[in-house]
């Protein structure tokens, strides 16, 4: 008898911390994979939360066509840690160790699109560290950016900015 009561208490307390499973938010990645997350996670993603708010919480399936199923779990993992107050230097170091340059850029764009300030600030720092003291060509390749200056414009800028070109780290790629 006593056991029954305690198990009832348990289920009660669970339903309290975990409001109701129907409130789970489904995030649909660009390649149509559904990720179910708690509403608290959605709150971290301002873009998602404002969409939920706009529809008075009636819509709980949110398509995120810009974000792939490869990137979304990273975003969710970061948000979960953030809610739990477990964003530590160690966690961030481990988190970023798993990511190559392309993934960092993808996640950065995702964080910007979803408007997750903490993740955006963190990835800004990661990118800044990775491009610090590098060459202009390195940064173009890093971001996959086309040079949209004419050769004349670029030559003029290079002349004006000659003082910034001393002691640039080598690109570790064979290039002139």
């Amino acid at each position: 008898m006593a056991e029954e009561v305690s198990s009832q208490m348990n289920s009660l307390s669970i339903s309290e911390t975990n409001p109701s499973s129907s409130a789970t938010i489904s995030l649909v990645s660009g390649d149509d994979i559904v990720f179910k997350v708690e509403p608290t996670i959605a709150k971290e993603m301002e873009t998602v939360q404002s969409f939920i708010d706009e529809t008075d919480g009636k819509i709980t399936t949110i398509p995120l066509p810009n974000i792939s199923s490869h990137d979304l779990p990273y975003v969710i993992e970061y948000c979960e840690k953030s809610i739990a107050g477990k964003i530590t230097k160690e966690f961030e170091a481990e988190f970023v160790k798993k990511l190559n340059n392309e993934e960092v850029k993808e996640l950065f764009l995702a964080a910007n699109y979803l408007n997750i300030k903490k993740l955006l600030d963190f990835l800004s720092q990661v990118i800044a560290d990775r491009i610090a003291n590098k060459s202009v060509e390195y940064v173009r390749r890093y971001f996959g950016i086309e040079n949209d200056f004419t050769p004349e414009e670029e030559a003029k800028l290079r002349e004006e900015l000659a003082w910034t070109f001393t002691g640039v780290d080598p690109d570790d790629e064979d290039e002139n």
Binding site: P63, P65, Y113, I131, I145, F149, L157, L161
Partner: protein, 189 residues
């Protein structure tokens, strides 16, 4: 509802690969003044991000106004600079005379660190007011009005003093350099 989101997001999709200028600026301000200038060559978006005030606000000393606004050239520079970047570059290329002509202030271009220079009039020079030993001359190449010229001396003693906030001195990022200037001994003999 999902289809509605899709049409809206198709436009987004074209945009998402492009880094918004504000994001670029937020990355640049985490590098340093040299990189922020250099990377303006990356592309036109980078170029306009590297002009943005949020980047250069970050590199300028937070107490800049209190340092230079009392000097005439400092306050006119603050009033006329078209952007924070231009303010930064001007302050690193052209020292501002502050403290009634007694000191100069500039920024180290590479790092944004403060550089103060003390003029000879701001130093304690033993026998400095005795013309037999020292006289005060005008040197066109000096930024200060007067320069102390050593004529003859038996012993030599100069003190310079500058005050800084204790947290500023401890903070290596915000460190400042002090230079003594305006003491001319090269043509003593």
């Amino acid at each position: 509802m999902a289809t509605e989101m899709k049409t809206e997001s198709e436009e987004e999709k074209n945009k998402i690969d492009v880094l918004p200028e504000e994001c670029i600026a937020n990355i640049l301000l985490l590098t340093d003044p040299v990189d922020s200038c250099k990377f303006s060559i990356v592309s036109k978006d980078f170029c306009s991000a590297s002009e943005s005030d949020i980047v250069w606000e970050h590199f300028l000393p937070s107490d800049l106004i209190s340092i230079i606004s009392e000097s005439q050239s400092g306050s006119s520079l603050l009033a006329t600079s078209p952007s924070k970047k231009s303010l930064y570059l001007t302050l690193s290329d052209n020292p501002i005379i502050i403290d009634n002509g007694k000191k100069s202030f500039q920024l180290e271009k590479q790092s944004g660190k403060k550089i103060y220079m003390l003029s000879a009039r701001d130093l304690s020079i033993t026998w400095g007011d005795t013309p037999t030993y020292w006289n005060w001359i005008i040197l066109p190449e000096s930024r200060f009005q007067e320069v102390a010229r050593l004529r003859y001396v038996w012993w030599f003693e100069i003190y310079g003093k500058i005050y800084g906030k204790i947290n500023e001195i401890k903070d290596t990022k915000n460190n400042f350099n002090v230079l003594l200037s305006g003491v001319c001994i090269k043509d003593m003999f």
